[in-house]
């Protein structure tokens, strides 16, 4: 697990639901096929209303037309990030587009679990409402050694909330690696037997 995550911010508002993160019509593609899964990066966050996309100004697309990777790698969101459906395609599409961390005021339960258990990215929480503090395009650095995020564009640093008990799963990589580490499932046999 990287102790330092650097990237450019993409800022969103409250209640970003999974239909905004990945509209249902796109849920037909395979997540395991290397070519087909690129569609998920292409359509990541494509359901966000344009005036809400890339705050504070809005009208900033997350990915350029047809591209499956975004230049933004840290999403900053408001409260209840990832509400709505249980589709794991939501954190998956963000990871495919290049997201390495999300920092929100709070998360919807299933999205949070999926992010951690699937090992897509680290869902951080911050007591400060960063949506008001950080602009899309700002240069961010997250330091897990001291649990802070610094906005290098404004030279301000904020404390992140502790990851709590899920840190063990995050450090292992995903729920399967965690279960292997703790002896719940055998560590051999992965990938075919």
């Amino acid at each position: 697990m990287n102790k330092v995550i650097e990237g450019i911010a993409y800022v969103l508002g409250n209640d970003i639901d999974t239909d905004q993160i990945i509209p249902a019509e796109h849920l037909v593609y395979s997540l395991s096929d290397p070519e087909e899964r690129k569609h998920y990066g292409q359509f990541a966050l494509s359901g966000v209303p344009v005036n809400q996309a890339g705050l504070p100004e809005g009208n900033i697309p997350f990915t350029e037309n047809g591209q499956s990777e975004s230049k933004y790698s840290i999403v900053v969101g408001g409260k209840n990030f990832g509400c709505g459906s249980s589709r794991e395609h939501a954190p998956a599409c963000m990871e495919i587009a290049g997201i390495r961390a999300v920092i929100a005021e709070s998360y919807a339960r299933i999205f949070y679990r999926n992010s951690v258990d699937g090992g897509f990215f680290i869902p951080f929480e911050c007591a400060t409402r960063l949506v008001e503090e950080i602009k899309t395009g700002d240069d961010l650095i997250i330091d897990l050694n001291v649990n802070t995020i610094t906005n290098r564009s404004s030279n301000k640093t904020y404390d992140l909330k502790s990851l709590g008990e899920v840190i063990d799963i995050i450090e292992a990589g995903d729920i399967f690696e965690y279960a292997r580490k703790t002896g719940m499932i055998p560590s051999t046999g992965r990938g075919g037997n």
Binding site: D15, G84, S86, R87, D117, I175
Partner: protein, 433 residues
């Protein structure tokens, strides 16, 4: 100290005498349900993690109910059904309901109930957020992602953080024109779309216990729209009547202790409830129907796991009988069983199916259909900036297909009354006259 039903069921499935909210525990699953949107991804992770030839932990506990993208020409969607079929064959799974055959059912949450997979006291996980619906049967049920589902397929277990419980009690009798949908929209409006995040929503009170299983399912179905982990209602004779007609499998009834600890408790007077809509673009954007009478509509949609059950259509038909709709009105039964009941159930000697056809409504095949937009050729999918009144569960931007559409969530009574007038209408006008 006492425990709530949710805590008791989770403790029993973790082999513990008691649990407290906040405990992280490993829970044994009685049922794992998946469908066409999340099944293929789940199976791919299962094979990657446990091996190409690995077998699921218990064939009898895996239930696969394709329902999302069924009646479409989309080749990727149809390919996903083929992936389900192949996995079912490889694993010899007994509980699969194949599209295009007599065994096809329709929307998973209603099919789970109708096929006898909802049993009091059980733990049911499903790769769909509305899996909370099954909590109406006094069981713990919650939605999970592909990774967690693949973990269960291999191990039969999942870690669960024991939720705090919020109690919503309704005393008295609901007015005749009030449905469970009005009740859940009221509560979500009161506590917000994150008001129950990580928590159980327990429904209590004599008004709740007078409801049919279908109406109870509506209450638990939309727990997720308040962020809830699960919705739950103690099983009673109404529950057992339904369950015994559908399965011989064992069950166990749990009750919340008198000294159980609730995170939150609110009591409502059932007789004071009013017809409610959730305005665009959030299920907690609550308004009384009486405050929205000037909203002009382009279409009405009656269907989904939330509003496509037989009781929902009985309600709609009661208002539509002998009248013509003024706007495009889409009727989508949740399952084949509901569809068959439309041909059997009658009001004043006329079947519900005839009532809907004579009213000028469009009838669709049982599936999730336009509740979640879906592929471009999905029945009832919202277009452009249409204003839609819908008995479904979500009205986030783009949910029903078009990002520009305006969706009002409402009860089947309110949707039917509004279909007759072309604007949002209080069903009491039709019911009390």
């Amino acid at each position: 100290m006492g425990m709530t039903i949710t805590e008791k069921i989770l403790a029993a499935h973790a082999g513990k005498d008691s649990v407290r909210p906040g405990d992280n525990i490993w829970v044994n699953a009685d049922v794992l349900m998946t469908h066409d949107v999340c099944g293929p991804g789940t199976f791919a992770i299962f094979k990657k993690q446990f091996g190409e030839n690995a077998k699921v932990w218990d064939r009898d506990k895996v239930v696969i109910i394709p329902d999302h993208f069924i009646f479409t020409k989309d080749t990727h969607a149809n390919r996903n059904i083929d992936i389900l079929r192949q996995f079912v064959q490889e694993q010899s799974l007994p509980h699969y309901f194949d599209p295009g055959t007599d065994n096809y059912k329709g929307v998973c949450h209603i099919a789970l109930a109708q096929e006898g997979f909802n049993r009091p006291g059980d733990v049911l996980f499903g790769t769909d957020s509305h899996t909370s619906t099954s909590g109406a049967f006094g069981m713990f049920s919650t939605g999970i992602g592909n990774t967690d589902a693949a973990f269960i397929l291999g191990t039969g277990k999942l870690w669960v953080r024991v939720p705090e419980t919020m109690c919503f009690e309704f005393i008295g009798t609901f007015p005749e024109h009030i449905m469970a949908k009005d009740v859940i929209l009221t509560v979500i409006g009161d506590i917000g779309v994150d008001g129950a995040t990580y928590r159980a929503m327990e429904w209590r009170g004599d008004a709740v216990m007078k409801l049919s299983m279908e109406e109870r399912m509506t209450l638990c179905n939309m727990a997720i729209e308040a962020g809830g982990k699960n919705g739950i209602i103690e099983a009673d004779d109404v529950t057992l009547d339904y369950v015994r007609q559908r399965t011989d499998a064992p069950y166990k009834i749990y009750h919340s202790d008198n000294d159980a600890q609730y995170f939150f408790k609110k009591t409502y007077n059932a007789s004071e409830m009013e017809p409610i809509v959730a305005k665009p673009h959030s299920p907690d954007n609550k308004a009384k129907v009486s405050e929205c009478l000037d909203v002009k509509l382009d279409r009405a949609y009656i269907g989904s796991c939330t509003g496509g059950k037989i009781t929902d259509f009985m309600a709609a038909a009661r208002l539509l009988k002998g009248k013509k709709v003024k706007i495009d009105t889409f009727i989508v039964p949740a399952t084949r069983e509901v569809e068959q009941d439309l041909y059997k159930e009658k009001i004043g000697g006329e079947t519900l199916m005839d009532i809907f056809k004579n009213a000028g409504a469009y009838l669709g095949d049982p599936s999730c259909a336009a509740c979640l937009g879906g592929p471009k050729d999905t029945f009832g999918r919202a277009k452009d900036n249409q204003v839609v009144i819908s008995t479904t569960n979500r009205n986030f931007p783009g949910r029903m297909g078009s990002k520009q559409a305006y969706v009002y969530l409402a009860s089947p009574y309110t949707a039917a009354a509004s279909a007759l007038t072309g604007h949002i209408t209080n069903p009491a006008e039709f019911i009390n006259n």
